[in-house]
Chain length 148, copies 2
């Protein structure tokens, strides 16, 4: 098993604002992909994220407002099936610190390397969304390689 880990600090006093960006359709569409359906504010909900041809369905499995969000991948590329994603928030100095985990990859395949870098880029998009009002969600996301 292998995990992708990231840490970003968002310059805002409002942890609630970051939590909203992780649990509402409009929030998620503002930093990950504009093609987002479903709300993430109730456990059991499914959120559908689409990127060009493919995408991911996430089941919301845990919420502790405003500090913790956890999803399980219910549909998507085979390497993602059985993996979970969590976002942990807390205040520190003038920042909301976000600890991100994409857990339980079966193998550290090349696609995992790609997803690790791509998550960093999307978390920087979330940071920018909160700090400046403008993120870079798909299809206007920062491209990192030939897989996009």
């Amino acid at each position: 098993m292998a995990d992708i880990l990231h840490r970003v600090g968002i310059q805002t006093a409002s942890i609630e604002k970051v939590y909203q960006a992780l649990t509402t359709r409009d929030g998620l569409a503002g930093w990950w992909t504009t093609n987002t359906s479903g709300e993430g504010d109730q456990t059991g909900n499914i959120i559908a994220f689409r990127f060009g041809a493919g995408g991911f369905d996430m089941r919301v499995t845990e919420l502790r407002e405003p500090a913790y969000v956890r999803w399980e991948v219910s549909d998507g590329p085979e390497e993602w099936i059985g993996t979970s994603i969590s976002f942990e928030l807390r205040q520190e100095d003038d920042f909301i610190i976000l600890l991100f985990k994409h857990m339980n990859w079966q193998e550290p395949v090349e696609f995992m390397h790609h997803c690790s870098t791509k998550w960093a880029v999307f978390l920087m998009s979330l940071k920018s969304l909160i700090e400046t009002g403008k993120g870079s969600p798909d299809p206007d996301d920062v491209k990192i390689d030939n897989w996009n």
Copy 2:
């Protein structure tokens, strides 16, 4: 043990140009930190990278020009001691694909989350250096959180 993994694709036909950016002082200073001393083109060499107060010393342990570079951390923060870093290059489509690994962290501590995101940002700086002639090395690097 835990590993940081990343994948970037650099739009250039010259794998040699990417290899130079990983093995020469000027190349490394162009994307990671301007305060770099030493050359990385011989195994056994030490390269010293400095960032503000702290930094890392790397021993070059393996070179296979132009496709592979491996370093061992010989001095730096305690969490980095005993870890290794590798860069693997190959041509694919119109890209040089770079697979990056920072291996053998004892524990997936919070500092590892930070370093994972920060490596992504620096690898995007390397991509930019090759593609546009301009990277964003420290001290003009992209800040990600309250640890910088």
